[in-house]
């Protein structure tokens, strides 16, 4: 075999091995999680290595219990509320802020533009204690709205950064055309900049949703009342409770992961679509 053929063969083997490896470490726990959520506690304890489901033994009881007996219906609605509000607020604020630092001329614009990311460099764990103290003192700690505020502080820097880079690439003449055609500044943002930024907005929405949906540290520290728990907080609560039922925890975990997958699939097609193609010549 030629040297080139040997190289190609090695590469092919490595590619297959790598694929298996990643599918295994990423896919297997997920598969196991879903599988376990459909089993009864008895089955899990008796045959922990059984990787299939027995005929007719798909058991939704765990889901039912988690949803209606352990308060997860409330957690889900809390999480949905927190995540969607965080996404909407992030999109609104990041659009206006990102546009301002890109197109408007004001004092300190350059500094603002570059300092956006500095905020992001503080690790959450450094912030959580002081914030805990502050919000406890003012008596606002155990509240979903405060949680949203904290999430905004985490998502806005990156959202601003992403949108700013995208806005900078939009040709300014299109906005000029909008302005002479009869739009106000806000009109230009709404009718021209936003439709053209759909891919960037989708990425930001996806990123923000994931942060808000998965966030655990602040939810864990800030929320005391079970009625206000978000999903991730609820799962930990469940896992730490006295009667450890694996299938319940697995069902709860499935409920945490499925929405993220759906959201990703929903937004994924916007991520790749480049809308500006054909706007400009030369």
């Amino acid at each position: 075999m030629s040297r080139e053929g040997v190289e190609r063969a090695i590469l092919r083997v490595l590619r297959v091995l790598g694929l298996f490896f990643f599918v295994f470490i990423a896919g297997f726990p997920f598969y196991w999680m879903i599988l376990s959520s459909f089993k009864s506690l008895q089955e899990i304890l008796l045959r922990p290595w059984d990787l299939g489901l027995g005929k007719g033994s798909i058991d939704f009881r765990a889901y039912y219990e988690v949803l209606f007996e352990h308060g997860f219906l409330q957690y889900i609605s809390n999480s949905v509320y927190v995540s969607i509000l965080t996404v909407l607020l992030t999109l609104t604020l990041a659009t206006l802020g990102g546009y301002a630092v890109t197109r408007l001329r004001f004092r300190g614009q350059a500094f603002m533009s570059y300092s956006i990311l500095i905020i992001y460099m503080f690790p959450a764990i450094v912030l959580v204690i002081p914030l805990y103290v502050i919000f406890s003192r003012v008596g606002l700690r155990d509240s979903v709205s405060v949680l949203i505020l904290v999430y905004l502080a985490q998502t806005l820097p990156v959202a601003l950064y992403m949108l700013r880079s995208y806005f900078q690439k939009l040709p300014v003449e299109i906005e000029y055309a909008g302005l002479t055609d009869g739009c106000s500044r806000l009109g230009v943002i709404w009718r021209i900049v936003l439709p053209l930024s759909a891919p960037a907005l989708a990425s930001v929405a996806l990123y923000t949703f994931m942060i808000a949906w998965n966030e655990f540290l602040f939810a864990f520290m800030f929320l005391d009342t079970p009625e206000k728990f978000t999903l991730s907080r609820g799962v930990v609560q469940l896992a730490g409770s006295v009667h450890l039922s694996k299938q319940l925890v697995m069902a709860a975990s499935v409920m945490v992961s499925i929405p993220i997958l759906l959201v990703f699939l929903l937004f994924e097609r916007y991520l790749v679509r480049g809308l500006t193609a054909g706007a400009m010549k030369g």
Partner: protein
């Protein structure tokens, strides 16, 4: 339609001066071309007229009324951009109707005007397409159409033809001229292309480094350039410039250049002190029969453009390009006797044209 007055417009970008006390007046229905090399401030001036960039000093007036305090959308001007700047997420029809929609005109009026403009420009078939599905020439028409349907007080065109290939550019240039005659609109047209300026403009404003060098009908700018810059910028091939001094010989002014001298005729010219420059257009040189005479040039190269022939020769020590009859059987190395009529010679002193009584 409206008249436009630009009064004392000055603009700096940081420390860089972009426009310096620019005055331009454009009459109702006039086609005015702002001409100059890139970076001369002509596009900045256009953006200031549109209200997209604020000026530092000076005033813009439409029909004698200041519009300085008005936002771009309230100035009632329409702009065509070099890049066309079509809205990529809208169809051609939506692009063209956008300005009317923003002004809340009734749907049927928008429809009617868009279709009328589309027919005028020959793009009725493209109305439902998206800009990315169009060729460069078609995009250019859509950009024109978007301005046309607005029926604004003033059209502002920023190098609208520079992204088209040469053949298309010549066609569209003619169409543009015809269009102007049809709609009788006031047009400010920015270009660095002197052919566009000469063919399109009722009035040409030659600019450089933020200053207006000359303003007037294209014919006069060509025939009587106010300074050396305008003379060299307008005309192709470029005007021949020679540096030398003026001497008085037997009562007549004579130009002494490097290796040749040239009579300047009875024009009241004096030595003026120091160097002067003379400019000779390529078409103002006549070839005389024979190889003897006061003005001799040696042929170095020929450029046959088909419709005309240019001869690159050496006059004294300097290169001279001039137009010759197509039929002339010249070849490199030939010596030619030339005549240049004194009234056709442009004289510049310190860069400015020397006014002479003819």
């Amino acid at each position: 339609m409206a008249s436009l007055t630009v009064k004392g417009i000055t603009k700096r970008f940081g420390q860089v001066p972009a426009l310096n006390d620019v005055d331009v007046h454009v009459q109702d229905g006039e086609f005015c071309v702002l001409l100059g090399p890139s970076g001369c401030g002509k596009s900045t001036l256009l953006n200031i007229i549109a209200g997209l960039i604020p000026q530092d000093r000076g005033s813009i007036m439409l029909n004698g009324e200041s519009v300085d305090e008005l936002a771009p959308r309230d100035r009632d001007v329409a702009m065509v951009f070099q890049s066309y700047a079509l809205y990529p997420h809208m169809t051609v029809a939506e692009n063209m109707g956008f300005g009317l929609r923003m002004r809340r005109l009734p749907k049927d009026v928008i429809h009617e005007r868009v279709f009328e403009a589309a027919r005028l420009l020959g793009i009725e078939d493209l109305l439902l397409r998206k800009p990315r599905e169009l060729s460069g020439g078609q995009q250019q028409r859509v950009a024109m159409g978007r301005a046309l349907v607005r029926r604004p007080k003033v059209f502002l065109l920023d190098e609208p033809l520079s992204n088209l290939d040469a053949r298309l550019r010549a066609n569209v240039r003619l169409e543009l001229k015809r269009l102007h005659r049809q709609i009788k609109g006031t047009i400010i047209y920015v270009t660095h292309d002197q052919v566009e300026a000469m063919t399109l403009g009722d009035k040409v404003v030659v600019m450089r480094k933020g200053m207006v060098h000359q303003m007037g009908p294209p014919g006069r700018i060509y025939a009587e350039p106010t300074d050396r810059f305008v003379a060299t910028f307008i005309g192709s091939p470029e005007i021949n410039i020679f540096k030398g001094i003026i001497e008085i010989k037997a009562g007549h002014p004579v130009f002494k250049g490097p290796g040749f001298s040239l009579g300047l005729g009875e024009r009241g010219l004096t030595p003026m002190g120091g160097y002067v420059e003379i400019g000779i257009r390529p078409e103002d040189v006549t070839v005389l029969p024979g190889e003897e005479g006061p003005l001799l040039a040696k042929v170095e190269m020929l450029s046959n453009l088909g419709s005309e022939m240019y001869i690159h020769a050496r006059l004294g020590e300097e290169p001279l390009t001039f137009q010759a009859a197509k039929s002339s059987a010249l070849k490199p190395g030939d010596t030619l006797s030339l005549r240049i009529e004194p009234p056709k010679i442009h004289v510049f002193h310190k860069g400015r044209r020397v006014r002479t009584d003819k």
